[in-house]
């Protein structure tokens, strides 16, 4: 740190940070010369706690690993256990899971869409976005019994069947959101100031993507069609008709475009799912969960979250508790390796948009 440099902490108490984390910056004038991510403010030792809980007790725990999008965790955990224990789940369960995952992705993306505007001080779409997301949370509440922590996708299937008339309600909510979206576009995408600020901002060198393990919308904004839903389809994604969305810009604007188009994709997928949803049983009976033992083995299951590839590395040893569950959140790479490099040379004013565009979610970095 030379004399003319200023050390500045963005976070943890900072309205511009994407969660309880902090980024230490060295500034020369307005330009960042060095960045370092500090995490650990939300470290709850999930992996340690899972090691001392029987499998069913970990099931309410995992959804708390990523707060805004808990279902990916539940699904991954359930799928990993099913793979290790050799449980087949009913077809309908797969479709309901897919529906839940897509709804969850949609609510996250809508919130994000407002959030990227909010990171530049435009608070109107933030208010709209979080407000409209609430309608999806209402759907979740009706389906699962809770707004945020659904605790719904359990090993063996899903916990409860769709309530009566749920499909229509979903479709109605989708119609409503679809009608609302052009207004969002007007104020965000077609806004001169937003375009001026985001176009060409924080260009990621293409070589970084594979080298660093960048996944999800960030990779897709760099032209790499990486999407776990397509690459190794899970649940019912292999029966859905969709294309991977890519953009070539490598900048924040492209990330915005990718996510904007993914909102449309999610709505389209939800319609498809509702259309194709089979009837039948939705839960296989598990062994007595209090004494459930899973034979020893290890696996890595992954799924596509809004932020990128979400993975669970699980090791069992034949006892009733997992030997090891390692959660790989996409934010770990995005938030530490990528952000530390990407922020160098940027203007201090652009930190918030970049962090939002990378969609860093601190709880999944430190677990």
């Amino acid at each position: 740190m030379s004399k003319e440099e200023v050390r500045l902490f963005i976070g943890p108490q900072h309205p511009g940070i994407t969660g309880n984390m902090s980024i230490e910056l060295l500034l020369k004038g307005d330009t960042i010369t060095w960045a370092k991510t500090h995490i650990g403010y939300l470290h709850r030792a999930f992996e340690k706690l899972m090691e001392r809980r029987i499998f069913i007790k970990s099931f309410p725990l995992v959804c708390r690993i990523c707060v805004p999008e808990p279902d990916t965790n539940e699904e991954n955990f359930a799928r990993g256990l099913e793979e290790l224990a050799g449980i087949e789940i009913p077809e309908r369960a797969k479709w309901i899971r897919t529906l839940v995952l897509e709804l969850s992705r949609l609510q996250m993306l809508i919130m994000w869409y407002g959030g990227i505007a909010g990171s530049m001080g435009l608070s109107t779409p933030v208010q709209w976005g979080i407000g409209d997301r609430d309608y999806i949370l209402d759907l979740f509440e009706e389906l699962t019994g809770a707004r945020i922590y659904h605790i719904y996708i359990m090993p063996g299937g899903v916990r409860k069947d769709l309530p009566d008339g749920f499909e229509e309600k979903v479709l109605r909510a989708m119609d409503m959101i679809e009608k609302k979206l052009p207004e969002y576009d007007e104020i965000i995408m077609e806004n001169a100031v937003v375009q001026k600020r985001l176009k060409g901002l924080a260009k990621i060198p293409k070589g970084w993507v594979e080298e660093m393990g960048i996944t999800g919308p960030v990779a897709r904004a760099c032209g790499f069609p990486f999407d776990v839903r397509k690459d190794s389809p899970y649940e019912a994604y292999d029966q859905l008709d969709f294309d991977v969305i890519t953009e070539e810009g490598c900048d924040v604007w492209s990330m915005l475009l990718v996510r904007r188009r993914e909102i449309d994709l999610s709505i389209k997928l939800i319609r498809q799912i509702i259309d194709k949803m089979p009837k039948g049983e939705f839960l296989t009976r598990l062994p007595n969960v209090l004494y459930w033992k899973i034979p020893s083995g290890e696996t890595y299951v992954k799924s596509e979250s809004t932020r990128g590839e979400f993975g669970y590395y699980m090791v069992t040893d034949g006892s009733d508790k997992p030997r090891r569950v390692h959660v790989k959140g996409p934010s770990f790479i995005h938030g530490i390796t990528l952000a530390e490099r990407l922020l160098v040379g940027q203007n201090i004013a652009d930190v918030a948009p970049i962090l939002v565009a990378l969609q860093i979610c601190p709880p999944e970095m430190e677990r």
Binding site: Q13, H14, Y41, L42, A45, K48, L49, R52, R64, P68
Partner: protein, 191 residues
Amino acid sequence: MDKDKYFLNEKPGKLTYSGVFKRIDDWTRARSLWVVAYGTGCGAIEIRPTFTSRFDAERLGMRMAGTPRQADVIIISGYLTVKTLKRVIRVYEQMQSPKYVVALGACPINGGMYYDSYNAINKLDLYLPVDVWVTGCMPRPEAILAGFKRLQELIDSGRADGWKKYIENLDWYRENQKKIIKNWRMPNYNW
């Protein structure tokens, strides 16, 4: 400049109010709660809807304050890790009196899901004077708003005096805080 001069080390004297002023003060304090924008835990996810259009806490006179200096309320939204606790204490001590603490969720009450975690505290009232506890995991925005309503009632009737308790029992709180924060590199704040 000498570092000590930046921060007053002695405790402030007692404030005395005369009747009418106190009444107006309590009334306005209850209706103008600025919340420090610090999402300490997972409850932050429900604070967003609370403060945005669907539930709109601004109706009740609440708004987010970007800096602790200007804030009246700190929301402990769920569990607190040791690392965050240190920052929270710092934020809390930077806030100006009168100030209030609202604890959301089960975790600050008795550890919640993370009762056995080596990094999450179990009892918040050992470290900060909490005025209102709202349980739930997470508490819905409605519950959070009801909690604030309760806080407003308490302030309005002059009973929300956690900040006074904190000053009076500072040594006790400090002892507890220092017990788990091993490296106490914090200035002694004034109030």
